[in-house]
């Protein structure tokens, strides 16, 4: 009576696997263009590492933003939070000579603190997350500029001997180009992947993950099922801040300095990665895998266009067009959707 209209098991599995593969078509498209036009120059490890490394801190923001989007909110403050975290990292290093492993948790606490305020504002004060995080963007950017006196703070601190201090030397491993862990692994890329894996597991394997989807998919149902909607909401904003804090040192190391403008407009890239990856701003729909793919599409697209020496102006045009094409191609219902007949 129920499942008998569905296609038989084998076919169904094939279709659903295809549906999943479908999500990667946009990425495949970008990769194909890269390989076709630049071959080995595009596909070699260094280039891919460089390309992903340049986006890694934004990619990490995108993971946090995905959590928030899944609950039906939005977080515009992540760029500012990354900025203040990168400033914190550079100052801890230059003024207080802290060890890198001390710096990261401090930055994460800073990010989480402001993220928590975002969550508190959206729940307890019931401010729409768009306004709350836009206000936070402004407040945090102001604080960042105030503490730094608007001057960028370098991370290549030299001791009296003219050599980098041991802390500054170690800090480079967070992402200064050319500095790899164990001589091989570029930390920003590793960090981005690890963050994706961890949050993928959290979302798919834990109670908290289910609750995140429930809050976004149907907050009333979630509440009536005993989900603490307020706590979940505060938690996702806090995690988003925490991840922005985690990304701060990476950004500082990448530029070997913390700029008072660092992270400006990163929030748009982060949200775009999530949404291109299939997250719905209405909440309840999206995956970390999708966000990861979305981030790759964005950064590899930049890379491919750059390698092909497309002019800056046309890059903007082509990038917009390809994003549209990628999003359309990776619709799960692509094959059926022109046939119409479905409910709007």
């Amino acid at each position: 009576m129920t499942l008998d209209t569905a296609p038989p098991g084998g076919l169904r599995r094939t279709l659903s696997a295809l549906g999943a593969a479908q999500a990667y078509i946009g990425l495949v498209l970008v990769l194909a263009v890269g390989i076709a036009t630049k071959g080995e120059m595009f596909l070699n490890e260094t280039n891919l590492t460089n390309a992903i490394g340049a986006f890694a801190s934004r990619g990490i923001l995108a993971v946090g933003v995905t959590l928030v989007i899944l609950t039906g909110g939005i977080d515009l403050s992540v760029g500012s939070l990354l900025g203040i975290a990168s400033m914190t990292a550079a100052m801890m290093l230059s003024k207080h000579s802290l060890e890198p492993w001390q710096i990261v948790p401090i930055c994460m606490v800073v990010g989480a603190f402001f993220g928590f305020l975002n969550g508190a504002g959206t729940t307890w004060l019931r401010i729409q997350s768009f306004v709350m995080t836009l206000a936070m963007l402004s407040v945090v950017r102001g604080l960042d500029r105030q503490v730094s006196d608007n001057v960028s703070v370098g991370t290549q601190i030299t001791g009296p001997d003219g050599q980098l201090t041991p802390q500054a030397e170690a800090f480079q491993l967070f992402g200064t180009p050319g500095h790899n862990l164990f001589g091989r692994v570029y930390y920003p890329v590793l960090a981005f992947i690890v963050v994706c894996v961890v949050f993928h597991l959290i979302l798919t394997k834990t109670r908290f993950g289910r609750h995140v989807y429930a809050v976004g998919g149907n907050p009333t149902a979630a509440r009536l099922s005993g989900v603490n909607v307020t706590a979940v909401t505060i938690a996702v904003f806090t995690l988003s801040g925490l991840l922005a804090g985690f990304a701060g040192p990476i950004d500082a190391a990448y530029s070997a300095s913390a700029d008072p403008q660092a992270g400006q407009s990163y929030e748009l890239d982060a949200i775009a990665a999530a949404v291109i990856g299939g997250a719905s701003l209405a909440g309840g729909k999206g995956t970390i895998a999708g966000t990861f793919v979305g981030a790759l599409i964005l950064t590899l697209l930049d890379n491919v266009l750059g390698l092909n020496a497309v002019s800056d102006n046309w890059q903007l045009v082509i990038k917009g067009l390809i994003v549209v094409v990628a999003v359309v191609l990776q619709r799960p219902d692509l094959f059926t959707f022109f046939r119409g007949g479905s409910r709007s």
Binding site: M41, N150, V151, S152, N303, G306
Partner: protein, 305 residues
């Protein structure tokens, strides 16, 4: 009402109020300018510089800031325009309100101002080009990192540079892209260039952060030694171009003068009814390993204030 019976008799001592609208504080160059201006203005006891207004790169914001200063009836106004045209009408309004205006760094399209003080970006570009010619006697390949394409300093720095390198036809600009004055944008662009062009000899960055962003990429690729880097700005801050020259990261940079000292002097003269020169075009100083330490000391304001 009874006249004030304060200690200083005669009410002769008037304090002048000066407003300054900066186009974007968050650029290190401009932060330095602010710092210097505050420093030099303090030298004049009877002049009070209001908190600097930051337009955050928005012309509309800057126009209303200028209008606010007019409303506040400041005695003199300093403006570093984001762009020439947008500020023109606002400066005209100040002029109509009989407020003396000093234009710092970028121009406006009216001559209804009291003084213009600024660097000569074509000249700076030309100096950079001449240095490139010197560094590449046998010719070579240059890549150019540009500021925001529509910004006048970008246009001028490109123009002067190209004029100068024409001296040696074997020098070629093989690639140029907009890195928006930002270090972080320059690094991945340089990484791509390194993949495309194995034979880059020199990087010309329209400011030091971009040149240094490219340096990071080249260093990572093990090519920092065979490539020369030129920047512009030469700020005396720990993270600035002078230090980078000292460290051998940049072959040279060119001081883009802030004009803060000149601005303070000019304001003082205007307020006390003295004559000032209307166009004050400032030269540049090339920062090399030899003069870097001295220049740093000369411009370093961190100990003061």
């Amino acid at each position: 009402p009874a006249p004030a019976t304060s200690a200083e008799s005669g009410g002769e001592k008037k304090t002048f109020v000066v407003g300054y609208s900066q186009s974007n504080n968050a650029e290190p160059y401009r932060a330095q300018l602010n710092l210097q201006l505050q420093h030099f203005m303090k030298q004049y006891q009877d002049i009070e510089l209001l908190p600097i207004a930051d337009a955050r790169q928005s012309s509309a914001t800057q126009v209303s800031q200028v209008q606010n200063f007019i409303t506040q009836k400041v005695d003199a106004l300093i403006v570093s325009p984001t762009e020439p045209a947008p500020l023109t009408a606002a400066v005209q309004q100040a002029c109509d309100a009989k407020i003396p205006v000093i234009i710092l760094d970028r121009t406006v399209n009216t001559d209804c101002y009291t003084a213009f003080i600024g660097g000569d970006n074509v000249l700076i570009g030309r100096k950079a080009g001449e240095e490139a010619v010197k560094l590449l006697p046998d010719g070579g390949n240059i890549v150019e990192l540009r500021g925001i394409l529509s910004n006048q300093p970008q246009i001028d720095r490109d123009k002067g540079f190209r004029e100068a390198i024409a001296a040696n036809p074997k020098i070629k600009i093989i690639a140029d892209r907009e890195a928006k004055w930002l270090k972080e944008q320059a690094t991945p662009i340089m990484q791509q260039w390194l993949a495309q062009h194995p034979d880059i000899d020199l990087v010309y960055g329209h400011n030091d952060p971009m040149a240094l962003g490219a340096y990071l990429a080249a260093k990572a690729a093990g090519k920092a030694e065979q490539i020369r880097f030129l920047g512009i700005d030469g700020l005396a801050i720990p993270d600035g171009g002078i230090r980078a020259v000292q460290l051998g990261q940049l072959s040279a940079t060119f001081i883009y003068p802030t004009g803060a000292k000149e601005a303070a002097e000019t304001v003082n003269k205007i307020l006390h009814g003295q004559q000032v020169e209307k166009e004050q075009v400032l030269g540049t100083t090339q920062v090399t390993k030899d003069n870097a330490a001295d220049l740093y000391k000369q411009f370093d304001l961190s100990g003061q204030n």
